[in-house]
Structures are given as C-alpha cells and as structure tokens.
C-alpha cells in the first residue's frame, strides 16, 4: 500500500512517501473488531502464514509463512475467527520502502542514505496502515523477539487501539551483550570491501562476505548449546578423520553455519540488516523514564500474554519477567508462560505443544472479537 503523507521519524528525519507490503488472512468482520496485527522479527516479512502457489497452482517450495505454525485456519491464532494482518516494516528488503528503493528526492537508490528507523517509527507506520484499512482497534497485536518489542510499543504509543498484546521471547531493551553481538555483525558488513559505505548497488556488487558472517553470529545466538550439540556435536564433515586444516570445513557445525550464511547473503540486504539491528539496539521504552520500566508501562491499558523459553539466552526469561513485573506494578491484566523448551531463542518459531496450547487458550478465552 502506498502512503503519500510524510512520516516523521524519531531521528528527526522523515520519509516523504512510502510503501508498506502486507498480507491478510481471514475475513475482517462487519464492525472491524477482529483484526490481529503480526509484527515481524529481524529477517522476516509480511508473509506470516500459508504458502504461495506458482502459476500452475502448485505449492512453491519453501514459501511457507514464517509463523505458519501459529497462524491459520484452526491454528492458535485462528484465521477462521480473526483477520490477521502481516506487515513488512519500513527499511525492509521484502517489498516495503527500504534502502534498495529509489529515493524520490534524488532519484537514486537510497542505500546507506535510508534514514535510521526505530521500533516506534515502525509502529507509527503500521498505525497508518490500520487507518487506511479502516481498523480503529486491534483485537490483538502480536510478535516475537523484535516483533514483541513492536507489540509492546503499540501498547504505549496507541494504548486505545490495542485490546491485547502477545509478546513472545522478547525484552524491554537489549543488554550490552546483545548490542555487542549486533555490533560484531554490523562490523562484519561495513568492513566488507564490497560494502562501499552502503552504496554497493552503484558498484554492482553485494557485501556477501559480511552478511554471511553477520548471519553466522546471529544464528549461533538463536540456538542453545544443547540443541547445537544434539544436532552437530563434534561430528566431522569428512568421516575419514580430521585434515589438520585451519581453512577448510572440518566440523559439521562449520558446514551448517556456512550454509546458513550463504543462504542469507543471497536474499538479505546489507543495509536492511544494519537498520534493523540498530532499531533493536535503540528500543528502550524505560529510557525516557530514567530506566523505570514500571513508570514507562503505566500508559499501557491492553491485556497481556507474555511467553519466554528457558533456554533462550539472547532474550532470556529474566527479561520477560522484567516486563511482567512492570505490568504487575501497574495492576495490568497479564499472564506469563515460561516454556521449558530446549531450542533457545528459535523456539518461538517452532511447534511446541505447551507454547501453542497457551497461545491458543489465550486467543480462545480472552481475545474477544
């Protein structure tokens, strides 16, 4: 959808006009009260559920929505009942206006000139999408990880427009360790000789080496040590033994990380990666309240469901508990499930019966349409 109005950004910059890509699932009811907005995390998009068909009507391989376990007919977020909106954030490389598009002011590709966007800016842009769809209030806003931060921010920026917020595997801000991981990933990208200060499009190259390393670092932090050991352990790629090489792939985990990195570098935009990790770093609703999250959340009037996973060390249960505590301090309706799953941060994308069960129960019992 195209938006012709200027969007002012937290940085002081603004975007003159922009497009947001979105998909919807299910039917919007007559009084437009059954909409659920899904906010995406780092490398995802508006394609949250279902599959794409090719011209001959065949299911395209690997076209499954990134939260297809969660959303669809009869699924925990049941599209027979809810009108689900998947939206792609500004700055993305999946259709919404971002660094790969042409800047209307210069008629050149934005590249590194695309303004730094924040979680709050994304929420503002999403609110305009709802305006355009004629939706005043959301039955629920939902997201995992960075998407959870957007859901939380919705309840603070537009408290009157959100009845429920479902915040999964998220945090009220990033720890120094988390920012450090982001910084290593960014340095990998910007020090790639093909990066050209973010204007690599002009040079006809892509900083794939940097993106690969950024993804490898990210990927390590999304898994738990246990899962990595279980999946790969110390298995060698070459069954005949070690090759005493420092350059070659020796262990299966190396092969796996290189594969993940290669795959990512094929489809993801380097500038988008920089922007999104920065949005993560900056998010801190307690910041303007002297670090007092309870005071920050005093504006929230939505009801909350929070879910965390015991083995998630990137967004640990302790971080979700901080949000829970701040909500309790404000006597807000909140439920919190701490799922004992082995998969680390990635668990929020997987099909765990307890996790799915609690989200399903919440949508069935609490979220009215």
């Amino acid at each position: 959808m195209h938006f012709a109005d200027v969007l002012p950004l937290r940085s002081g910059a603004s975007i003159r006009a922009y497009d947001l890509s979105y998909e919807t699932y299910g039917q919007l009811n007559a009084d437009k009260s059954n909409a659920v907005l899904i906010c995406h995390a780092l490398n995802a998009s508006h394609h949250v559920a279902g599959v794409y068909l090719d011209e001959s009507g065949q299911v395209m391989s690997k076209s499954e929505g990134w939260w297809d376990t969660m959303i669809g007919p009869g699924k925990p977020v049941d599209t027979n009942r809810f009108f689900v909106i998947g939206v792609n954030n500004l700055g993305s490389c999946f259709g919404s206006t971002g660094p790969m598009q042409t800047n209307p002011d210069t008629n050149e590709v934005y590249g590194a000139d695309f303004p730094v966007v924040t979680v709050q800016d994304w929420v503002d842009a999403q609110a305009r999408l709802l305006d355009a769809l004629g939706i005043q209030t959301l039955a629920a806003v939902m997201g995992g990880s960075l998407g959870g931060m957007q859901a939380l921010s919705w309840t603070l920026q537009y408290p009157g427009r959100v009845r429920h917020a479902v915040v999964v595997a998220s945090a009220p801000n990033l720890t120094a360790e988390n920012i450090a991981f982001n910084e290593v990933a960014r340095r990998a990208i910007v020090t790639d000789p093909d990066f050209h200060g973010g204007h690599f499009y002009k040079h006809g190259v892509l900083p794939k080496r940097g993106l690969r390393i950024a993804r490898m670092i990210g990927h390590i932090t999304y898994l738990s040590d246990d899962v990595m050991n279980e999946k790969f352990g110390r298995q060698l790629r070459d069954a005949t033994g070690i090759k005493f090489s420092t350059q070659d792939v020796e262990f299966q985990i190396e092969s796996y990380l290189r594969y993940q990195g290669d795959k990512f570098a094929e489809y993801f935009d380097a500038n988008t990666y920089l922007l999104i990790t920065r949005a993560l770093d900056y998010f801190d609703p307690a910041g303007e309240f002297g670090g007092d999250l309870s005071r920050a959340l005093a504006q929230a009037s939505a009801k909350f469901l929070l879910v965390s996973f015991t083995t998630d060390w990137r967004f640990s249960p302790a971080r979700s508990r901080e949000i829970v505590k701040a909500l309790l301090d404000n006597q807000v309706d909140v439920s919190y499930a701490e799922i004992d799953a082995p998969h680390g941060h990635d668990a929020f994308l997987l099909d765990d019966a307890r996790y799915m069960g609690v989200v399903r129960s919440y949508f069935e019992s609490k979220v009215s349409v």
């Binding site: 309790l328 919190y336 799922i339 069960g357 129960s361």
Partner: protein, 202 residues
C-alpha cells in the same frame, strides 16, 4: 497434551470455605493456584481481581483457558516480582507442604499481602495419628501418597503452624480446621484433615 486441554473443575467444598474468608472486591494473589478454580470463583462470585502463580504447564494453560491471569514461575525462587503490600489477600492453599523454603514463603506472603490465608493438610488429624500409632505413615484423601513417593516435603499440624507463625511475628487473625467443606472449630487439630490460618504482620 494438546492445545485444547481444559481442566475446568469447579472449586472444591474446602476451597469454597476458604473463599468465604476473602473479602469481596479484594486484590488477590493465589500462590500455587493450580487450575485456577478458586481464583476464578473469587473473580466471578466475589468481585475480586488478581493473579495466580503456578509452575505446572498444564495448570498454567488451564488458567489461561479460564481467562484467569496466571504467572508461571517456581515459588522456590521467591516473590521478588511482587511489591510490599501489593495485594489485599495472598492465598497459599495446599502449597506450603511442597515448598523447601516454606518459612521464607510464609514471610513473603505476609510482606506482599495485607492478609495471608494459608491452608495445608493437617498431620494432627486423628486418622493420621492412628496410622502412626499403628506404625505406618498415613494414606488419606488429603494426604493420598505413600511415604516414598509423596510431593509433600513438609507435613505439620495446626499447633506446629501456630508456633511457626508466632516465631515469624505473624498475628493469627483466625484459624480452624476443614473437614469436607465444614469448618471445625472444636479440637480442630485432631478433628480436621485440613488446617486453615488467616494471618497478618504483627
């Protein structure tokens, strides 16, 4: 367990007796709230509000399915999530006997709530005494486990608890026994299978 499991048991007669101790409209914290039956009843019938705390996944889901606010964590980790006197009533119904940090939790209950209501199986009930006299650990409706596989790591009597409460400078506002939903006020330590205490900071 599937996503649609629901355990919508109504409150038991004992729970209903305990519910009468909770003033109407109270803000309630229910520690070890199980499937949320008591809290649900308090919210619907007595105009209360509040939260349950529960560790078991299936119980957490049952609470959510009822629409009762529930926070999942291990009570052994303490009550740091909750501020001083942030609740009118803190319930600890059949929870104390499972806790290693029972004494700390009792003090925390009094810190977080203006009043605390504690209920637990009364080991002083006469069938238990009789079983011990006969040389065996009791197995009853309220203590239904064999000694070698019981989740109850603390068993005590009304008199034991009264002593613990005064040792922790807690004032007992009321105490009685419960037997099949009936209040037992005459010789409760021998005549009731469950002990109930209502207390506050002295």
């Amino acid at each position: 367990m599937t996503g649609t499991t629901q355990i919508n048991l109504p409150p038991s007669p004992d729970q209903l007796s305990i519910a009468r101790l909770v003033p109407k409209g109270s803000r309630v914290l229910d520690l070890g709230c199980g499937t949320g039956a008591l809290l649900d009843y308090l919210i619907r019938e007595r105009g209360c509000s509040g939260y349950g705390v529960e560790i078991d996944d299936a119980n957490v889901q049952a609470c959510v399915a009822r629409g009762v606010n529930v926070i999942q964590f291990n009570l052994e980790d303490g009550l740091a999530l909750f501020g001083d006197s942030s609740f009118d009533v803190v319930l600890q119904i059949d929870t104390l006997q499972h806790l290693r940090n029972a004494e700390i939790m009792l003090r925390e209950t009094a810190r977080v709530g203006r009043i605390g209501i504690v209920a637990f199986p009364n080991f002083g009930h006469w069938p238990n005494r009789l079983a011990v006299l006969r040389g065996r650990m009791p197995v009853t409706k309220v203590l239904p486990y064999q000694w070698y596989d019981t989740p109850n790591i603390r068993v005590g009597t009304l008199r034991d608890f009264a002593a613990l409460a005064s040792q922790n400078r807690l004032q007992i506002l009321d105490s009685f026994g419960l037997q099949d939903g009936r209040e037992i006020r005459f010789w409760p330590n021998a005549r009731a299978s469950r002990a109930v205490f209502k207390l506050q900071r002295a």
